[in-house]
Amino acid sequence: MAEADTLTYEAACERMEAIIARLDSGEAGLRETLELCQEGRRLVEFCAGELEAVGQGLEELRLGELVTRLEA
């Protein structure tokens, strides 16, 4: 997914907050609301994935080990 390559956690959070503010305002029409919810869910998934990636507990590597692993 091209979007995930460029999307950052902070950008996703910022967009999500904008979406929630827009939904809270009650001004969005039905179509917009549904589209925003869908986009919001995608962002939530992305952020959850990012948090999940650093929620597995510390993994400690020596530089040499990383290089070996990259070369393998």
């Binding site: 950052t8 919810c37 919001g40 869910r41 948090l51 510390l58 993994e59 400690e60 530089l63 990383l66």
Partner: protein, 455 residues
């Protein structure tokens, strides 16, 4: 004692004189100024700045020398006031101020040039290098690199057995961060430090996974920190594509690495926190809250609209239903009125018929009696004729009455079409709308089903 008059010398002394002291002092100055100019080195003590000159003493373990320098010359050096203990090399020669009747004489080593030595020298070099790097704009590139809020892999350059390593881990734990750390251990304080740290940084930056690099070491003397002021190291860091967070300096002494790095922190713990700006635990809680809000808003948007739609869609149906009920009521009233009228007429006719037939029978009996009395009686005959006429009238009325009875109509072979509720269906259009119909014949109902329309 007035000048010009020389007093007698000390009896028995073999020395020349006595000479006037001012003359001697002037000769002394000439002799001292004639000493060869040299460079001396030592530690500065008691630096004072006067209006025209600065003063300080230069000391070492075996002696000391009072020094003076023209203030203008000193300020041209750009070192600022010299702190006690600063090592310098001073160039100059001896001088003597002969004093006067009102001024004390003094001896000093007249300094014409100074070079900071030892730490002082390092600081001066450092300052020069800092100006050079800054002039080349090398403090900027690292600061322009974006720091990700949530790095997955963090490279750490530190001593393998130092406290810095634990501090970094503590900082990361405080953030609730559990990603991947790549340790690049390097000596952090001897002459091998700078090249080793430089290599470690280059190797870490070459790993595509590494999002940010922390260079950490605990405190240390300024001299130890000079490893992190190495020109090659600083130039390398300035041009790395990965942001570097430094925590090598003191509160007071800033290393050049602190200047070129993206972020400079005072402790390794802070550096770790700077590497992961996001508090992961708080972020998880916030994400859950965001998710709930999104779901709630999405649901609300649909439920609210569905409710409105339902309300809107019920309105016309209710309207039609009200009209339908009123129509049915009217229909029932009309039908009831018709039935009442028919029943009323029918009973009235029946009453008339009964009365007529009674009168007919009475007339016939009277006629028979009269016949017995007077066989031919014109009045009686006329009565009989009238009776006969009335009977015929009655028959005609009965037939007309029967003609109005729907049952009779059915008996004549007609059929009534009804819907499933028993209501009459009076048009073909209405009949086509009903899936089921019933034909009411005089002797009962027959359910029927209209054929589907031919396409």
């Amino acid at each position: 004692m007035p000048e010009g008059r020389r007093p007698a010398g000390i009896p028995g002394s073999e020395l020349t004189g006595p000479w006037p002291v001012g003359q001697y002092a002037a000769r002394l100055r000439e002799r001292l100024r004639g000493f060869t100019h040299v460079q001396v080195f030592g530690e500065v003590v008691s630096f004072k700045a006067g209006r025209a000159k600065v003063w300080f003493e230069l000391r070492d373990g075996s002696g000391a020398l009072p020094c003076s320098m023209w203030r203008e010359d000193f300020e041209a050096l750009g070192t600022g006031p010299l702190a006690d203990g600063v090592q310098i090399v001073a160039a100059g020669g001896c001088d003597y101020y002969p004093g006067s009747r009102t001024a004390s004489p003094s001896f000093s080593f007249a300094v014409s040039d100074v070079r900071l030595a030892g730490e002082g020298d390092l600081l001066a070099q450092l300052e020069r290098l800092r100006r050079t790097l800054h002039g080349e704009g090398l403090f900027e590139p690292q600061k322009r690199l974006p720091l990700t809020a949530l790095p997955r892999t963090i490279g750490v350059v530190c001593g393998e057995h130092g406290k810095a390593r634990d501090d970094v881990l503590a900082g990361l734990r405080r953030r609730g961060w559990g990603g991947r750390i790549v340790w690049a251990f390097a000596p952090v304080q001897d002459r091998h430090a700078a090249p080793a740290v430089t290599r470690a940084l280059q190797d870490l930056a070459a790993c595509p996974d590494v999002d940010v690099i922390v260079v950490a070491r605990g405190g240390g003397s300024l001299a130890d920190l000079f490893a992190f002021c190495d020109e090659t190291l600083c130039r390398t860091v300035a041009l790395l594509r990965v942001p570097v967070i430094s925590s090598v300096g003191h509160h007071t002494d800033r290393t050049l690495l602190d200047d070129v790095a993206a972020v400079a922190c005072s402790t390794p713990t802070h550096a770790a926190e700077a590497a992961v700006p996001l508090d992961c635990r708080a972020a998880r809680a916030q994400l859950a809250a965001h998710t709930a809000r999104l779901e709630r808003q999405g649901r609300r948007a649909i439920v609210e609209r569905a409710r409105t739609l339902a309300r809107l869609s019920r309105a016309p149906a209710a309207h039609v239903e009200r009209h339908r009920a009123r129509l049915h009521q009217h229909l029932r009233e009309i039908r009831a009125a018709a039935r009442r009228r028919v029943a009323g007429e029918s009973s009235a006719n029946l009453g008339a018929a009964v009365a007529l037939s009674r009168r007919g029978r009475a007339a016939a009996t009277a006629g028979a009696r009269g016949e017995r009395r007077t066989i031919s009686d014109a009045a009686a005959l006329a009565r009989l004729a009238a009776l006969d006429r009335r009977r015929r009238d009655l028959d005609r009325l009965a037939v007309a009455l029967a003609a109005h009875d729907p049952q009779r109509t059915l008996e004549r072979g007609y059929a009534l079409v009804e819907d499933s509720a028993g209501e009459p269906v009076t048009s073909a259009e209405a009949a086509r709308r009903h899936p089921r119909l019933a034909l009411r014949l005089h002797d009962g109902r027959v359910p029927v089903r209209p054929e589907p329309p031919v396409a």
